[in-house]
């Protein structure tokens, strides 16, 4: 039997070239979804194969990789992807946002502002922002070509007519560089403003749907809205119970079956950093004792 032997960062060089070419086009046409021949990865479609392929195509031995899912480095899928790259590329990994050069994420943008030396790689399930309004690729592609986004505005407006608000809480559509309407991946709309004029390069990989797209650094990203119904990022109105942060996105933790709730930062690195710096919330939780980088 042929014992499988795998390349640096798993992908073969021909596949990396193909993905790299797609990434360059994606950067050149901000917000446009570049089709690419996504490969079968050793993890299921829908579990980050697009992000993994993008990361594998850019990652080098000097990089320091951080992987988060739901804002946390310790969710099982984040661990699994981090281990995959530690094993196949031998790169250093970290949980500290500030130390990372490449951050692969599912569903969150770190709270800490990103810098010019970082690349944020998003895992994307459905890259097409118009897909839920029009299931046909042939149609949505035509709409993007003509910048014909009336349908999206109608949908948002119907929400307002019905609920008094735009009833989209996550994967809230944005317009990139005043041209393409783009799906930011299923991040909460709280994170949308972080995409605008961001110093870091943002790359998006959708493996099953075979699309790569990008937002170059310092690019205008506007959440779709109406003059009389401006975009509002949602945040539960409470400080983090662990670090007291007033401006971070919060997870709601159910503490008992009698309606007990507490709210803590979804970005675990951010929360730990604040606690280490002496910030405490109403609930004086013990600071983390694990050493940084203990996740291999």
């Amino acid at each position: 039997m042929n014992a499988p032997a795998y390349n640096f960062a798993y992908l073969d060089e021909q596949t990396k070239r193909m993905i790299r070419r797609a990434i360059l086009k994606a950067i050149a046409i901000p917000g446009y979804q570049v089709p690419f021949a996504s490969r079968e990865m050793p993890m299921p479609y829908g579990w980050g194969t697009g992000g993994v392929q993008v990361t594998a195509a850019i990652l080098g031995p000097q990089d320091v990789l951080k992987v988060i899912d739901q804002g946390s480095d310790d969710t099982t899928n984040a661990i699994s992807i981090r281990k995959f790259f530690a094993k196949t590329a031998g790169v250093a990994t970290t949980t500290a946002t500030a130390e990372a050069t490449v951050i692969q994420t599912r569903h969150r943008i770190p709270e800490r502002a990103l810098n010019e030396n970082q690349v944020l790689v998003y895992q994307v399930p459905i890259p097409e922002p118009l897909r839920f309004l029009e299931p046909r690729e042939t149609e949505t592609r035509r709409m993007h070509a003509l910048a014909e986004y009336g349908l999206m505005h109608v949908k948002l407006y119907e929400d307002i007519a019905r609920f008094g608000h735009i009833a989209t809480a996550y994967a809230y559509p944005v317009r990139v560089n005043a041209r393409y309407v783009m799906d930011p991946s299923p991040t909460p709309k709280f994170d949308n403003p972080k995409m605008d004029n961001c110093p870091a390069l943002q790359l998006f990989g959708a493996g099953r749907e075979k699309r790569i797209y990008a937002i170059p650094p310092y690019t205008q990203v506007v959440s779709l809205d109406f003059e009389d119904h401006p975009f509002e990022p949602y945040r539960f109105n409470a400080p983090c119970a662990l670090c007291g942060a007033e401006n971070s996105y919060l997870d709601e933790i159910v503490t008992d079956d009698k309606g007990g709730r507490m709210f803590v930062c979804s970005d675990t690195d951010y929360c730990e950093g604040r606690q280490a710096a002496g910030h405490y919330g109403s609930l004086s939780a013990a600071p983390y004792r694990e050493k940084a980088g203990s996740h291999g």
């Binding site: 990396k16 360059l24 050149a28 393409y180």
Partner: protein, 202 residues
């Protein structure tokens, strides 16, 4: 005639050199006007700068039709080296090329002769790689657009002299258009189709 054995070598470490070169090109594309260095060295046939050679080894293969300008095409070593190391098919029709290699910018054909992409697939366009003299001397240019924090300044001695005037077609064409990669020795600057350039004169 050069035999294959006598051709300049490719990357010493194919995997890591391609990765490093790609990151330089990606950074160049993401930050138009910034000068990025290409570190890994491969042998380069005459006419081809070492930066160009590294980019070719990193991005070209069987799937990327390649157009060569007369300066590049006249060198048997260049075509042989490209075929041997990348396998990219050389095409005469520039409008179907994924990449164009331009050794003599003075004779750069009109951008309209390259693939500009379509409204549905603007990515199906030619990336034009132009070898230039220098990023340390020459005229100054002010660049704006995605990837640039306000204004970037580029100093470059470029042929054709009216390159940026010609690139104004990108404004009307967008999202179709041409992305240009400028190479001077081991330095690379990218001008994607979103970049708007004004000459500072001097």
């Amino acid at each position: 005639m050069t035999t294959i054995a006598e051709l300049p070598p490719g990357f010493a470490d194919k995997v890591l050199s391609a990765q490093s070169t790609f990151r330089s090109v990606m950074d160049a594309m993401a930050r138009p006007g910034s000068v990025q260095r290409i570190v890994p060295m491969a042998g380069a046939p005459d006419t081809m700068m070492r930066g160009t050679a590294a980019i070719a080894l990193t991005l070209f293969d069987h799937d990327t039709p390649l157009w060569l300008d007369a300066r590049m095409a006249e060198s048997a070593d260049v075509t042989k080296w490209l075929k041997f190391h990348t396998g990219a098919p050389v095409v005469q029709d520039s409008s179907v090329a994924s990449f164009a290699l331009v050794g003599d910018g003075g004779a750069l054909p009109s951008f309209e002769s390259f693939a500009l992409g379509t409204g549905e697939y603007p990515d199906r366009s030619t990336t034009v790689i132009v070898q230039i003299d220098s990023f340390t001397s020459g005229r100054g240019f002010e660049l704006r657009g995605p990837g640039i924090d306000g204004v970037a300044t580029l100093k470059a001695s470029i042929k054709p002299f009216d390159l940026f005037e010609r690139l104004q077609i990108n404004e009307a064409l967008f999202p179709r258009g041409i992305d240009v990669v400028l190479v001077a020795d081991d330095a690379v600057v990218a001008i994607p189709r979103t970049t708007r350039v004004v000459s500072k004169g001097s």
